[in-house]
């Protein structure tokens, strides 16, 4: 997300930390780096200027120069100011005293309004609400079709226009429909324009004045540059904006728009879009984002995702069976799927504090994708239920059949079985009190997640930098040390076990899989 900004600031801190005492010139040098980093992160130049001025003012004050740990003081000031810039605490959607709550989306063309509408609907559904989507983009060809398709994927009903409808008519009908259904929240998708012009504002105001939304959300692209500030301001003045949704935060854009917008229109960022899957939406947490920019990781988001992906009852059951060394390949598969539900591996790893710099030091973030996991899943799915429960019955001819069925090689099947045996043996040992340190038993959310940072720390520490640099080796068959899995691997994915070349993830399977998962 803010990877590169984090990287640059880390470089600055490193240099500041190397000194006992800071001079005004030191502070200025560091702040120059901060300025460039923020500008390259697309933070608006005026926001950058004021930000740097404020930090300088405080950094040159007595609290820093006379402090015994001046570098830490500067870091603390930057962090505080960054948090302040992004808004105090996470904000929630407005709620109508009398349902339905009406949410109006607005934004430029290509910001991702239609996709976001469905994602928001899906999120509300998961929160136990009864959402309804209104397709009021009558401008872009097939926009209504698109909303109907993604709405179906999210499981949220869509109100489509009838012949002769104007956008405001559709919106009004949707609100009316919500009262009768009943649905308690209506999300209104609107047409974008390539720019903020009078026609767009008139249309939006027309809809607004007809349905009186409780919340107007501006959908903004995290890839946006300096103009994001103007756009936010234009919509704020034209229709009034209550909150912002930042899309495409799963890109490698640094997303400085997040920093500008809040200060420019004084409205909080409420949601972020983090992927193409229909459930790739998260509530925005300013303090987490600030920590993330400063290279402190994003453990809270990680835990939240893990909670959503894990079935607590199942975890308890697995734990019970593991104690008795009755772990089956089916459990193995369940756990793996839970990890995959947390999102792309690369994203998950990016949230681990301290892992980012370590990976970069080792030659950059390895190409992490889900193919390694996909192979293992395919292998296990090619087994009969009996084989999954009792892997010891898998003989040579069964191995050959499984390899064929999963489109893998017998050697891969062998490797998985060997690893599984290792895991089972380790767990048996653990149940008898011989658990290796840093590998807590899976205890659903409590134990398993408590072990997250530790487990990942083990990944970073256990793998020599060269191994990390090798890239795909990290995903390889070494599923063990993944967070939440809590399963120790059959050893680090050393060179001998590394999957060959960064060829993983070719083809279309992954993406289609994403689409299907959207139906969950």
């Amino acid at each position: 997300m803010f990877e590169s900004l984090t990287q640059r600031l880390e470089g600055v801190w490193q240099r500041l930390r190397g000194r006992g005492r800071l001079t005004a010139a030191d502070v200025d040098e560091a702040l120059r780096e901060v300025r460039v980093a923020l500008l390259e992160a697309d933070v608006h130049f005026r926001v950058v200027r004021d930000f740097v001025d404020r930090v300088r003012e405080r950094a040159l004050g007595d609290e820093v120069l006379k402090s015994l740990t001046p570098a830490q003081q500067v870091v603390k000031i930057v962090h505080e100011e960054l948090c302040a810039l992004m808004g105090g605490t996470g904000a929630r959607l407005a709620s109508a005293s009398q349902p339905p709550t009406v949410v109006l989306l607005c934004g430029l063309q290509g910001a991702g309004k239609t996709t976001f509408a469905a994602k928001l609907g899906g999120l509300l559904l998961r929160q136990g609400r009864h959402p309804l989507l209104a397709a009021c983009d009558l401008q872009r060809p097939a926009a209504v079709d698109q909303l109907q398709v993604v709405g179906r994927q999210a499981g949220v009903p869509v109100v489509a226009p009838e012949p002769g409808d104007r956008p405001a008519d559709v919106a009004a009908r949707a609100v009316d429909r919500a009262r009768r259904l009943p649905a308690d929240i209506v999300v209104v998708d609107t047409a974008g324009r390539s720019q903020i012009d009078a026609a767009l504002m008139d249309e939006l105001r027309g809809i607004r004045d007809r349905i009186h939304p409780h919340e107007v959300l501006l959908v903004l692209d995290a890839l946006a540059g300096q103009d994001a500030a103007n756009v936010a301001r234009g919509f704020a003045e034209g229709v009034g904006v209550d909150g912002v949704a930042l899309t495409r935060l799963d890109s490698d854009a640094r997303g400085g728009a997040a920093l500008s917008v809040r200060s420019v229109i004084d409205r909080p960022i409420k949601f972020v879009g983090t992927g193409e899957r229909i459930d790739a939406i998260e509530v925005f947490h300013p303090e987490r984002m600030a920590s993330r920019i400063l290279g402190m990781g994003d453990v809270l988001s990680l835990i939240e995702r893990a909670e959503a992906a894990w079935d607590q009852d199942k975890a308890v059951e697995v734990q019970r069976r593991m104690r008795g060394a009755g772990l089956t390949l089916e459990d193995f598969l369940d756990q793996m799927q839970a990890v995959r539900r947390m999102g792309p591996l690369e994203q998950i790893l990016g949230m681990i504090p301290g892992l980012g710099p370590r990976l970069r030091a080792a030659g950059g973030m390895p190409q992490l994708d889900d193919k390694g996991l996909g192979h293992i899943e395919a292998i296990i799915r090619s087994m009969t239920p009996e084989e999954r429960r009792r892997p010891e019955i898998i003989n040579g001819s069964r191995r050959l059949r499984i390899a064929r069925g999963s489109g893998t090689a017998v050697s891969e099947v062998n490797r998985l079985l060997r690893q599984f045996e290792d895991v089972r043996r380790l767990l048996k040992g653990a149940a008898q009190g011989r658990m290796p340190p840093g590998m807590p038993p899976v205890r659903g959310l409590g134990g398993g997640l408590g072990g997250l940072p530790g487990g990942m720390g083990a990944l970073g520490a256990g793998h020599p930098p060269a191994g990390l640099g090798a890239g795909p080796g990290v995903v390889g068959p070494g599923v063990g040390p993944l967070p939440g899995l809590g399963l120790p691997s059959g050893g680090p994915a050393g060179p001998g076990r590394t999957r060959k070349g960064p060829k993983a993830g070719r083809g279309k399977g992954h993406r289609k899989g994403q689409g299907r998962k959207g139906h969950r």
Binding site: D50, L85, A142, D145, Q226, R233, R248, S251, R254
Partner: protein, 306 residues
């Protein structure tokens, strides 16, 4: 965070919208000389147009030299800056390639929401107006209703469309379209692809497959791989250009949404670093609003005078 700070910021951003000329006027002030403060103001204005720190500093350096050497004064600044910017993009102009033997296969690639589908339609319209026979290919099989959107456009333009069922293999669409293009003696086959973020390895690999398959269906294809870049894109545009060029050998850029308040300053960095030409600029929502890129017009617009 004091309210005064916020207030100042908001007032300042209001000024930013008046464009670079206004910024220049206020930077130069009433003294009519280019002092450090004035140059700093100009640098801010360039930064606000997404020109980026490196290019903004280089441009300001040129102005500083000119001021010292030629006694350049405030009145000469806008024209000088415009020329400097246009000069940097002079080599970025070239027309669309044509294959020695038709059809010419063009692949439109880019991140989500930059306007690939619309650009495909506008380009088809443009080529058709020149008397070429054009076939559109809906190789975005991922985004819901993308093919429908392109079908509507194909109808308006009056060209044929090759499409498959949603969720199909986009490379198969490309293959069929190119094969159909050859069979039907088309001059151009324009392939619209799904938007993808350049940091998604699997999606980039999917794009590579499309180019391979195009080459299999017609030797030498794709003849053009055009990266569609949104003028509102910030610094990430450079990263987009780098990665797309690395994976699928981008041959040129289309800069869209130049009719907005965004200035598209990112192309300066993209052209400087990668040497990519800019073939077209999207300047509006109508079918006719795709124009050959013009460095002088672009530079003038970037300075708020276009």
């Amino acid at each position: 965070m004091g309210q005064g700070w916020m207030g100042r910021l908001r007032a300042g951003l209001g000024r930013a919208r008046e464009g670079l000329l206004g910024a220049i006027a206020s930077a130069v002030g009433t003294r009519r000389v280019l002092d450090a403060a004035a140059l700093e103001g100009l640098e801010d204005a360039l930064l606000g147009a997404d020109v980026g720190v490196l290019d903004a500093e280089a441009l300001i350096e040129r102005l500083r030299e000119a001021a010292a050497r030629e006694r350049l004064d405030a009145d000469g600044v806008p024209e000088r800056l415009r020329l400097e910017i246009a000069e940097r993009l002079r080599g970025a102009v070239r027309p669309l390639r044509r294959a020695g033997e038709p059809p010419t296969v063009v692949l439109l690639v880019g991140v989500n929401g930059t306007g690939k589908t619309t650009t495909a339609a506008k380009l088809a319209h443009r080529l058709k107006a020149d008397g070429d026979r054009v076939l559109l290919a809906a190789a975005d099989t991922f985004r819901a209703a993308a093919a429908e959107q392109l079908a509507v456009w194909a109808g308006r333009v009056g060209v044929d469309l090759v499409r498959h069922a949603p969720g199909g293999d986009p490379a198969a669409v490309v293959f069929d379209a190119v094969a159909a293009g050859r069979a039907r003696a088309m001059d151009f086959v324009l392939c619209d692809t799904a938007g993808r973020l350049q940091n998604k390895a699997n999606l980039m690999a999917e794009l590579q497959k499309m180019t391979r398959v195009a080459g299999r269906a017609c030797p030498g294809a794709p003849h053009e791989v055009l990266l569609v870049l949104d003028a509102g894109t910030g610094r990430n545009g450079l990263q987009q250009a780098r990665v797309f060029t690395e994976t699928v050998a981008v041959t040129g850029l289309v800069l869209t949404k130049l009719d907005t308040t965004a200035r598209g300053g990112i192309v300066l960095a993209v052209h400087r670093e990668l040497g990519l030409p800019i073939l077209y600029a999207g300047v509006g929502e109508g079918l006719d609003d795709l124009r050959p890129f013009d460095p002088d017009a672009f530079a003038a617009a970037l300075l708020g005078a276009g």
